[in-house]
């Protein structure tokens, strides 16, 4: 694999008043251009992890390196340029009074020159398919649309990494699909590194790699195939198994000769088709 873009080494963290560690000795790497899903039940430490990556908190022990820069209070504004965050609540991250003003907010903060700014606002809104809403006010937008504007605000700053901190959890199914589709396109066209923090296993199954968090510890790390072999273990962690995996498992129990657990419905149908037509 290539050089890691983000390195976490023995990271521990706890919130002031609490006795238990919110994060306990976490180490893993994030590589350029990959989609990494961090999953875990509510309170497993996955959101704390996101806050650490963005320098909203700093590790008590251990170190985080982003693009070669060691993350600390001195370098935090440097590393923030490399990482864009999309948060959970669509309303509470919309700063501007209109769509275009909101996208411009980040650019203004970074002192981008006006002509460049106008161009970047237009481009990024095109990218998330919100160009026709330029002067719309936030309370006239759906949750999914607001999240896409938030994504536009992030990509306008051209970061290397985009972190989705439960960005789809408050959306309806249609909004969720819109947002994920947008992120997939960004990854394809800009080779962006995507870190999605989620408890939606369907979302995670589309990632390149999954990190499973439990009680502040890194429980398991692997490809979706590897992770979903865990099966009932995942349910015990308060998570779920994606539908195709569940289905192939029951089919195997009922005596069908399936070669493995499938992660997508298409693959499973394909396999059924092959064995059906062989008969």
């Amino acid at each position: 694999m290539t050089e890691p873009l983000v390195e976490l080494k023995n990271v521990s963290f706890k919130y002031d008043a609490e006795a238990a560690y919110a994060l306990d000795n976490i180490s893993f790497n994030i590589f350029k251009g990959e989609w990494l899903a961090i999953v875990g039940h509510n309170g497993s430490g996955k959101s704390t992890l996101a806050k650490l990556l963005n320098g909203l908190h700093f590790p008590l022990e251990g170190s985080i390196t982003v693009g070669g820069i060691s993350l600390s209070e001195e370098t935090v504004w440097e590393t923030r340029k490399k990482i864009g965050m999309v948060f959970q609540n669509p309303d509470n991250q919309f700063v501007g009074t209109t769509v275009r003003d909101d996208v411009a907010f980040g650019l203004e903060n970074h002192g981008i020159e006006r002509n460049d700014m106008v161009q970047r606002v237009t481009e990024s809104l095109e990218k998330v398919k919100m160009s026709s809403f330029l002067n719309q006010e936030p309370h006239h937008l759906s949750g999914g649309q607001k999240q896409r504007v938030a994504i536009a605000g992030v990509i306008a700053l051209r970061p290397d990494i985009i972190i989705l901190d439960e960005s789809t959890s408050m959306l309806d199914p249609r909004g969720r699909e819109e947002v994920l589709e947008t992120v997939r396109e960004l990854k394809r066209d800009y080779h962006m590194t995507v870190i999605s923090i989620t408890h939606d296993l369907e979302e995670a199954s589309k990632a390149d790699r999954i990190v499973v968090m439990n009680k502040g510890e890194l429980y398991r790390e692997g490809t979706p195939e590897e992770i979903f072999q865990m099966d009932e273990e995942l349910v015990k962690l308060g998570l779920d198994i994606p539908f195709p995996v569940k289905l192939s498992k029951i089919l195997r129990e009922k005596g069908l000769p399936l070669s493995r657990h499938y992660l997508s419905e298409e693959e499973l149908v394909e396999e059924l088709w092959t064995s059906h037509s062989k008969m």
Binding site: H41, N42, G43, S142, G143, S169, M170, D172, P173, R174, G175, H199, L201, V235, G238, L239, D240, F243, P244, K246, L247, I250, L251, K254, G255, L256, E265, E266, L268, V269, E270, L272, W273, S275, H276, S277, M279
Partner: protein, 289 residues
């Protein structure tokens, strides 16, 4: 208690430049003991329908029967408290409505508004906190010191303590993780059975609708697009897909498979078990011949 919406229309802000038609010609019957799911996109009118179920909104056309009460556009309604007590609504993100110093006081708020004595309300609070699966110690805590999931349960307990005959749920599991989602829905389903409640579930989740409901109403653009049992609704999923609505995973998979293998399963499957049995049967038949 039976509820019945008859040709209900609702317009927001009548006689202003901002007038907007939200629902029209909506007729839905909810006989006592039904588990009804109302499904539709954001903006399909389902939350407007919901607010008619306990007279938070008064129809601008048509009428709503709630038990013996009749809500019509003309009559100004007095004394709606009785209706509000008998039809409890758990709104989306109900934890946002918590306000008291202690969990116990918050749960007692509803019952005491309806004239229940403090002593009786406290008794109900203890019962309700158990029903939502929280320990009794939590009663003396401040609701704002709890975790998100616990707050949600406390808010639900506040509605349960009103001892309604009908319980209306607006996306009760939004934002919860898979385990929390399942626990909350299973709890409502068991309450529905043991207490003989009517339950109305407003949701995006086709999975929950097909798993728990006996009747489903699909809303689209302010109108009832379709109603029936889950079997009836999902036996022709193409229409739903055309509206951009989901269908349950099981139904979707069956459709995909039938298309690809060019076969028809003998029935519309709603559970994983039915589906796998059917698939196994088809595949084995294949081997036999």
């Amino acid at each position: 208690m039976d509820i019945s919406l008859q040709n209900v229309e609702y317009r927001y802000q009548v006689n202003t430049p901002f007038e907007r038609l939200a629902i029209k010609d909506v007729s839905i019957d909810i006989p006592s003991g039904t588990f009804l799911a109302i499904i539709g996109h954001t903006g399909s009118g389902k939350s407007t329908v919901l607010q008619h179920l306990n007279a938070l909104l008064k129809p601008t056309e048509g009428q709503v029967l709630i038990g013996e009460r009749k809500i019509t556009p003309e009559k100004k309604q007095k004394n709606l408290k009785e209706i509000r007590q008998r039809v409890g609504i758990v709104f989306q993100f109900p934890e946002h409505q918590l306000f008291e110093e202690t969990v116990e006081k918050d749960i007692c708020f509803g019952p005491m508004n309806f004239g229940v004595s403090e002593e009786e309300a406290k008794k109900r609070a203890r019962a309700a906190i158990g029903q939502v699966g929280l320990p009794l110690e939590i009663l003396s805590k401040s609701p704002f010191d709890l975790s998100g999931g616990q707050m949600r349960r406390v808010a639900i307990a506040g509605v349960l303590a009103m001892e309604p005959d009908v319980i209306v749920l607006d996306e009760p599991t939004a934002g919860l993780d898979p385990r929390g989602r399942k626990e909350i829905m299973d709890m409502f389903y068991s309450l529905h059975g043991t207490r003989g409640l009517s339950t109305v579930l407003v949701t995006h989740s086709m999975e929950d609708a097909s798993r728990y409901a006996d009747q489903i109403v699909i809303m689209h653009n302010g109108e009832v697009y379709k109603k029936g049992t889950p079997k009836e609704i999902f036996s022709s999923p193409e229409g739903l897909l055309k509206l951009g609505l989901d269908v349950p995973e099981v139904v979707r998979f069956q459709l995909k498979m039938e298309k690809s293998l060019n076969i028809r399963l003998s029935k519309t499957c709603l559970t994983m078990d039915e589906l796998t049995d059917e698939i196994a049967a088809v595949m084995k038949r294949g081997t036999a011949t």
